[in-house]
Symmetry: C2
Subunit: 520 residues, 2 copies
Amino acid sequence: MSKSKKSFRPKARVPRGLRDQSGAQLQAERWMLDTIAGVYARYGFELLDTPAFEYADALGKFLPDQDRPNEGVFSFQDDDEQWLSMRYDLTAPLARYVAENYDSLPKPFRRYQWGPVWRNEKPGPGRFRQFIQIDADSVGAPGMAADAEMIAMMADCMDALGIARGDYVVRINNRKILDGILETDAEISPTDPASEEKWLTAMRALDKHDRFGWEGVEKLLGEGRKDESGDYTKGAGLSRENIDNVRTSLSAAFTVSGAPSSPSAQPSGQLSKYVPGDIDKLVDRLGRSTIGLQGLSELEEIAACLAALGIGSDQVVFDPYVVRGLGYYTGPVFEVELTFEAENEQGEMARFGSVGSGGRYDGLVEMFKGVEVPATGCSFGVSRLMAALEALGKTQTDEGQSPVVVLVMDKERIADYLVMVKELRDSGICAEMYMGGSGMRAQMKYADKRRAPLVVIEGEDERAVAQVTLKDLILGEQLSNEISDNEEWRSGAQAQVSVPRAGLVEGVRNMLIRIDGRQG
Amino acid sequence: MSKSKKSFRPKARVPRGLRDQSGAQLQAERWMLDTIAGVYARYGFELLDTPAFEYADALGKFLPDQDRPNEGVFSFQDDDEQWLSMRYDLTAPLARYVAENYDSLPKPFRRYQWGPVWRNEKPGPGRFRQFIQIDADSVGAPGMAADAEMIAMMADCMDALGIARGDYVVRINNRKILDGILETDAEISPTDPASEEKWLTAMRALDKHDRFGWEGVEKLLGEGRKDESGDYTKGAGLSRENIDNVRTSLSAAFTVSGAPSSPSAQPSGQLSKYVPGDIDKLVDRLGRSTIGLQGLSELEEIAACLAALGIGSDQVVFDPYVVRGLGYYTGPVFEVELTFEAENEQGEMARFGSVGSGGRYDGLVEMFKGVEVPATGCSFGVSRLMAALEALGKTQTDEGQSPVVVLVMDKERIADYLVMVKELRDSGICAEMYMGGSGMRAQMKYADKRRAPLVVIEGEDERAVAQVTLKDLILGEQLSNEISDNEEWRSGAQAQVSVPRAGLVEGVRNMLIRIDGRQG
């Protein structure tokens, strides 16, 4: 801390919880973003970009009279004393944007956006404090068709990324159905001040189903649950009878184990197509709840739209346990789950899990406007999805080809090597001259590290006969893993060819085609 | 400030100095980034992404013992008390990345990167506190060929963006030449403690040539200069004789007015190609200065490489007034200037000016590593360049096509409209159903605002005869700017056709082709 200015040398380190990305992995991520953006655009969504930070009060989580509105977000004070916060998602900035430009925007306003968001949270393995989301939203869209579109679009994105049918499923639900079940079976409601708190705890309990199973949910609906570490979470305090009733309702249209039961014998509109249980039994149980039946009827509408959009029951399934943590959802909610198994952070084989989600949030823009603006949207978490594509071996890149490297055999002849590079680039081949200051060994090491497919060599010998040598590094690596000196290396004849200097581009192109062919 | 929680409603506003971007303008910017990235990739640069913030000490401008390292950057303290700063360029994070990963990286390390950077500065018209840069750098590249490559690549980017030869020029210089001139003609030097301060002020003075002309530079080299607002800038205090000598040297190879003099009669290597004056005269004047002659010799090497890369004297020109403000440049410096005139912020016609720049910075990575790592790079400022493309009418987009809108004529038949949308999308046509809750007038207004090329209408009449009506909105707009009611609107017959429902996709495609054809 008290080092002098001159001797101070900062340690080069990426900040805690952040990361650098490069090369093929980053190219693959960009390809993935382009693919999803392409689907969004085909659905008629328009690109939007908002700044990295917003006024803290506009991010919605915070109230302006808090001393330091910093929980969960990165915040700082501007020189005019106003608090700025880095966006923690793309939805809050959208709400601000729509409210600010409401009169001039087309209504509904349909936008997509991708970019980094930031969370001031404790980082962990695979949990970064900056990550990319890619979202689409329809703001000013009251009908269930808009929600159905989001669900269909998420399924379409999975298809576009090459994830096979059966390897993903979009789970859909409606918060109102849960409200109906809790109202009917446990007599609690978000609109009843006496049971509001219980209702919130019960919703949180249901949200834990994918992590703890029914056994855990049961405890959280009742007295409470102690986890492995000994931490105790207080439950909603529902009675044994209430809990059993809730379970019966949930099981009606969806078996608790998660495995679908036989489809309903009596189809009820298109909904039964997406319900792995007996939807009529659920209707019966919700008989007394207005809100519950409204949720079911909305789900019916969604199902009809999904069927019209050609979405199959192998792509979408009703699941009453989908709650979604975020506070602002008001009706339909959905999430995309990858159903195949992959190694998790603990090294165990497990279902890959959720990679995206969405839902209806009719109250968010209201925060600014004072009038309800119905909206629905979806969002993919890009790093989770990237990890999934890697596990499936489905990553692709559409550029980022490794360069052909022209070696510097004679520093006096740099201009000649640059002419070669120019010829290659002008033919669309990614190429470069070695720009370092080192000798042959370092140059070959460089070409290896860059994963160059081939190098171009024009030394004294080649020049004397107006030829260049092309060395196939991929084949060369297979033929010999040890190169002890320049002489021996240059004699690795099987992996190299000589072509006339005038035929450089053609020779390189032919070798690239052969390499591509070998790699399938 | 003391509003209650319930009544508080934040004002929706984008933070001061920031902006939202959307639609065609944003798509055009992405196209521009893709185009430049494509050139960088073809030159063999690899994509890198670093986080939005770095430890403040790693950003180079700051020392850790300052209380609040906030000048010019946005900074905040992490919960472990460390200061984080948002990156203000992409070069400092690159230096940190290279130092952190030095052993595992290919050397030279050639990367490109694009993304937002942030400046905590007073915003103004066209001056934002968040803007995008797109950079390429070669780290560990000591030779002048690496600098020449940057210069050639910037010119290539201009070509790729469709900016005509003559509308841009890359101005190149070498700081060492300026050091030589100041040493020879004014006896000041950055390595002499007695004149270090004078040298810095003199360099700053030369840097102002594009803004103030020689008249202003002269004052800043001498006693000082008062600007229009009355603000006074103290000068370097050089004598009249010194100033005249400096001017004679600068004029030797570059006329002070900026207009090229006749090319040198005696070509000196390839350099004379890019020098709009008498290079030999400059050599003569630098006769006593080692650093000056070294600068000239480096420039000779660069010129030889540029010539090999096919760069013409219409693309690159030597200009001794190129200084570049950034402190870290150590040798060659260059900037891309757009030479055509466009309206500036004051509404006057003026040369567009600089859109990108670069240079050699052999000392930057040393800050972390303690050893010199020679490096050179280039950077484009994306919003300046976008404004230039707009002024030239050269903006392009490669997606972001406006959607065909299927109107909702009957809310009971949403499923049917969705089937149409699906058919269109499946054929690669960007399409959507109107998702709002309003009637015909609002739907047409929506389609207009979205700049939809056409709408699809299937009302009762059409349905009865298994047809759909396609309305060409572009033509319709031309034919009538006033639509007083639904009846009248639907009778606007010239701009619409009826096609069989089964021929929807073909009909839409034909109309889109006709619209494209009319728009050229």
